[in-house]
Symmetry: C2
Subunit: 457 residues, 2 copies
């Protein structure tokens, strides 16, 4: 039996609990696990908050994957309301402050895992102190927003930011009968999509919302106004928008200040640089989840794409390596999905814009087609954009949206990209067909054929 | 300008019309196209017939992809009710008989495409001449069955055969309020799945059907009985089952007699052997669709898996090569999907049974998991079986079923197999995640991890 290893984990949302759970399941690894979080709960689905706000989930506890008790029963020590203030790599120690009592303690580790996640960026808007202005990251944010939109006199809402969270809140607010204005500083909402795709999505959202939703682009919020609580939003174009609630969803930034202070190397967007075993630049310190940088398998560049699915994979990889075994996490494709009401919105790999930036010889196609046989009830349009390198004949990325089954088709492309598939081979992929599920020539194959026709003509 | 080529196509359901349509779109290819079919319509979705029978599609014309008129307007000649009785390869001619007048004619070709499809196999059951006994292949079959099940005194049905068509008819009949007995000669329904998966699907179907559906296995139908019309079905176990209608769906056989008579080489199941340009063993004769053999990309063996999606791909490939350009169709994975009510049933690649038969060193996993975050409304179970070769670490196949989103996940695996993906790489595939669409660790990844744990432990 090996000597007991002291494993310390800081951060408790996704990657941290994953490391903890995986280590607890690892046989022949003798360890004592201590997980510290500044929050009062751990292991919850932050991605589920918009659906809790919407009211699709009644009990917030359903968002909790595992309770501290469940971890403790298996032998881990979970420390709530404890913030890590300092890492001392030379001494293999961290400093912990109790967020309630302020009491400081030092904790020794043999291996340390940093899983401190990310936090919302709040732009410099005037009067942020007013009531009824929120960000969405933690469970308590979700509870407060949900309570607020259910109050009788909450009729109007402003969402600042048109990324995934902004769109998901838009659904939640629209479905709760609010009139909503979403304000995006950039020229396009969902700016990780190509501009023409973003614009099609925007038009579709507005069309679906029967006048209850307004989306402003190229417009920034410069001030909130009101007595005590927010009543008006002032934009860079001088618009004055009345509102009863405002939510800021303008992106996130990694919680890496204590890592940086300890001398750990940071990368893109100040996320922690890790190798493919999730090891940081300092011995015996690992990192995983939203606080870490990612390697992009298509661009072959570093990026920062914080996502719950990646956090889980990285957490597993970190745990295996912490336990002295070997695992490598190769990197990401940036695959993501969201929805607005019935509209699925999804992408993987590089957009055309990104692909050109990285120097690929791009050819692309955009195609709208029914997701199943046109004569079947429930057949709906999906629009697919495929991006291919003309010389390499490699698939670089896919974007899809529609009321039909768009997201799983993006996964079919993700699977191809992951295997470095060529266009020529991909377009012969034997996909399942039956009238309730697809067309005889699947929309993905049609999109690939369109590109093939461009290349070979 | 090249000399006008005389292109003759025999067969009009899927591959034939596809060849015709693709040739009509081909620039710089000067041709006269004549398509002959013994039926009175062309270019229809035979796969849609069960849904027409069910009543999901009211107008049978919606199953028609393109009418003869649409083809004729573009310049092709469509000849209905004309059966090809002989191919004369030496003379580059075929013999055509008018099915109504019996008049015989000879037709010259420069290039011939055989797309004669397949027809139902009818086992030697006694009293097949009785009324209300059907097979399902052509539009008229669909109309007759639909009319029959809508008659007031049609209350009970027997389906002979538990393959895809049998299951689809089961849905159609069950949804129309009939009491149905499905009788399968083999030990398992859907015998292209592994036995334990077939059995789980069977149990699920029976459970969903509230006593209205009975499935008998290891039992053959030996006789129909009744006065004029079928009233009873007698089985090999001596069961006597009362019924008002019987449908035989015991499989199909390729229509290749005239090809064989002309000396064209046949392969597995008497399907026409073609190379990857869809050329038969005789010069200037091509074949595509259900009448042709397939190359299986995983087993590296020839097989016969007649499917509409493959017919479309082969038709396209044949047309390009007929037009003097180059295209290759690499082969199939046997991907297929069907459903029973809300239950999706899907597979790709090899089952464990097949993989062992072909000599792979098989490891497999079966796993049931929610298709989306468990707290989301509409989250449903899916069961996935993955089959992997332990030494090659190659993914060989996947089977999936469930009320959740099973079929598109099978396509994600199909895409990986098509690219010769390894298990080690596949389990890091960056799949999209959001609570309404999947779990943070997608069921496919979970299934792959299960196998990885078996291999590396």
């Amino acid at each position: 039996m090996t000597e007991t290893q002291k494993i310390v984990i800081i951060g408790g949302v996704a990657a941290g609990p994953k490391i903890c759970a995986k280590l607890l399941r690892t046989k022949d690894f003798n360890c004592k696990i201590d997980l510290y979080t500044e929050e009062d709960m751990i292991s919850y689905s932050a991605c589920g908050l918009p659906y809790f706000i919407e009211g699709l989930i009644e009990d917030v506890n359903r968002l909790i994957v595992r309770t501290p008790q469940q971890f403790e029963e298996k032998g881990a020590n979970i420390h709530l309301n404890k913030r890590c203030t300092k890492i001392l790599p030379q001494e293999h120690k961290i400093v912990i402050a109790d967020t309630k009592t302020g009491i400081i303690q030092e904790v020794e580790y043999d291996k340390l895992a940093i899983t401190t996640g990310a936090r919302p960026i709040v732009p410099p808007i005037q009067n942020l102190h007013l009531q009824n202005i929120f960000t969405v990251r933690k469970i308590k944010d979700g509870i407060e927003i949900r309570n607020k939109i259910r109050e009788e006199n909450t009729k109007k809402a402003v969402i600042v930011g048109g990324g995934y969270i902004g769109i998901e809140l838009l659904e939640a607010f629209y479905k709760n009968g609010l009139e909503v204005v979403l304000i995006e500083r950039d020229e396009h909402i969902l700016s990780i999509f190509d501009p023409e795709i973003s614009d099609m999505i925007k038009d579709e959202i507005v069309k679906m919302s029967q006048g209850k939703v307004n989306i402003l682009t190229s417009e920034a919020v410069i001030a909130f106004e009101g007595d005590d609580r927010v009543q008006r939003v002032i934009t860079s174009k001088g618009n004055i928008i009345e509102t009863d609630i405002a939510v800021i969803a303008t992106g996130v930034t990694p919680n890496t200040e204590i890592a940086a202070a300890a001398g750990i190397e940071l990368g893109v967007s100040n996320a922690i640089r890790v190798n493919n075993r999730m090891q940081t630049s300092i011995k015996d310190i690992y990192a995983a989840g939203d606080c870490t940088e990612n390697y992009h398998l298509v661009s072959k560049n570093y990026c920062w794409i914080p996502l719950g699915s990646t956090a889980n994979k990285e957490g597993r990889c970190a745990a295996i390596n912490i336990a002295g075994q070997y695992d490598a996490f190769p990197g990401v494709l940036g695959s993501a999905v969201t929805r607005y009401d019935g509209l699925s919105i999804s992408l993987t790999g590089l957009t055309e814009t990104e692909a050109r930036k990285f120097g690929f010889d791009v050819v692309s196609s955009v195609m709208t087609k029914k997701d199943k046989a046109g004569y079947m009830p429930g057949a709906e349009n999906i629009t697919i954009k495929l991006v291919v390198d003309k010389r390499l004949k490699k698939i670089l990325g896919a974007q899809a949206f529609g009321n039909g089954d768009a997201d799983k088709r993006v996964n079919t492309v993700a699977s191809a990209i992951m295997a470095d598939q060529t266009l020529d081979n991909f377009l012969h992929t034997d996909m399942t067909y039956a009238p309730p599920f697809s067309t005889a020539v699947d929309p993905l194959i049609s999109a690939a054929l369109l590109i093939s026709n461009q290349i070979y003509k």
